[in-house]
């Protein structure tokens, strides 16, 4: 255990959790606790959200609300989420390490750290997810990812639309267990096409220039898609780390963006 707590507090309500979080700068929320364990810091009070009914997947006419404490296994086994955009969120989650980890890891914990290697953030960004915070209210995931620093609010849920969309997700990895070298998600709905590329190795971002290219095209054919994939490669920054080089990542981004766009448009690659 690298992180050390002096106190553990099981919150009785969201307000209680929020107040406790504000009491000391070092205080922190416990999600699944997996990454928290590995952080080297001393915490006065760890605030546990278990028991606040934040582990539910709820649907309305137009949206699906996934509680921040929902485990990755719950997502993996959700028939509701399997119906959304070809089930890309379910697919992405089911490839994350082993079942033991997915039984403990929470969706909120996976998002709040803005981890570059996250396989949850990329499909959610393509699905235009919104984050529902206790104090701030609704914030788009896209905006949240551009913010820096510690989050002093409590994430209650992730909200996505119940759209009839086609989706594609690809995680490039070396072994079943591994973090992604790169991941790509594409969602095509009646509102247009969204492309998210993650683990570059920076946190996922939209390939906005490629999306604009597609939005401006009068016809979506193989040529347009090939151009959009090239733009996705050239308009985003890719870096090198111990998993892969920048050039390789950029190449993968182009290849899998093209394949994703072909698939969601029903075209043969």
């Amino acid at each position: 255990m690298l992180v050390k707590f002096t106190n553990y507090h099981r919150a009785q309500s969201l307000e209680d959790a929020h107040k406790t979080l504000q009491k000391d700068k070092s205080n922190t929320i416990v999600g699944g606790g997996l990454w928290l364990k590995l952080s080297r810091r001393e915490v006065d009070t760890a605030v546990d959200l278990a028991g606040l009914d934040l582990d539910l997947i709820e649907t309305t006419d137009k949206t699906i609300r996934i509680g921040a404490m929902t485990t990755l296994t719950q997502i993996e086994e959700s028939d509701t989420l399997r119906q959304i955009a070809s089930g890309i969120l379910v697919e992405a989650v089911s490839e994350i390490m082993g079942r033991q980890l997915r039984n403990v890891a929470t969706l909120g914990g996976s998002i709040i750290g803005r981890y570059g290697f996250s396989d949850c953030i990329t499909p959610l960004l393509a699905l235009d997810a919104r984050l529902d915070f206790h104090e701030r209210g609704i914030v788009s995931l896209q905006d949240f990812l551009t913010e820096k620093g510690k989050v002093d609010d409590i994430l209650k849920a992730v909200v996505i639309d119940k759209t009839k969309a086609k989706g594609y997700f690809k995680k490039v990895k070396k072994t079943a267990h591994d973090f992604p070298i790169l991941n790509v998600a594409v969602v095509k709905s009646e509102d247009g096409t969204r492309i998210a590329i993650g683990s570059r190795p920076a946190v996922a971002t939209l390939a906005q220039a490629a999306m604009d290219h597609l939005a401006a095209a009068t016809t979506i054919d193989k040529k347009t898609i090939t151009q959009a994939a090239r733009i996705a490669k050239e308009s985003l920054k890719y870096s090198t780390n111990h998993r892969a080089g920048a050039e390789y990542r950029a190449h993968l981004a182009e290849v899998y963006t093209r394949r994703g766009l072909m698939e969601v448009n029903g075209l043969e690659d």
């Binding site: 992180v3 553990y8 997996l34 590995l38 546990d48 390490m97 082993g98 033991q100 039984n103 079943a176």
Partner: protein, 146 residues
């Protein structure tokens, strides 16, 4: 908490992890390997689902049903026999975690397929067997007992 059918009460630190608590109280089948939730040797069952005890706060286990290999001893022995027959282990360090995941699989699926077995084995690192023989052994074991 209820461990292997027996109610236990422990004094713990706020930041204590379940693997440490269990080992301190002589549940020594619970092993610590990578200590980063990557290798699977610390796997235990909480309410019949496998979890990495090296990353699970003990305080969160309050009131829950905990199962270690000591709690499924007969079943683990039969599985170990199948592992022996198929040449599926050498050092045996990963076996308790795998035995618990196989037990969880049995509880969750009436007729587990090979795909189900492989799905549950992800997250268990073994540096002796290469996994093929383990899959064979688990299929043999499940065929014998389900």
């Amino acid at each position: 908490m209820n461990i292997n059918g027996r109610k236990r009460i422990f004094d713990i630190r706020p930041d204590e992890l379940l693997a440490d608590t269990l080992r301190r109280h002589d549940y020594t089948s619970v092993r610590k390997g990578c200590d980063t939730t990557s290798c699977g040797v610390c796997t235990i069952l909480i309410d019949d689902e496998p979890v990495p005890s090296c990353a699970y706060l003990t305080v969160r286990a309050e009131g829950k049903k905990i199962t270690t290999v000591e709690g499924i001893a007969e079943e683990a022995e039969r599985l170990a026999g199948c592992f022996g027959d198929e040449g599926a282990d050498q050092c045996g360090f990963c076996n308790p975690g795998i035995a618990l995941s196989v037990h969880a699989l049995k509880l969750s699926a009436k007729a587990p397929t090979e795909e189900n077995i492989r799905h549950y084995l992800v997250g268990h690192l073994c540096r002796c067997s290469g996994y093929q023989s383990q899959v064979k052994a688990i299929r043999r074991y499940l065929g014998d007992t389900t």
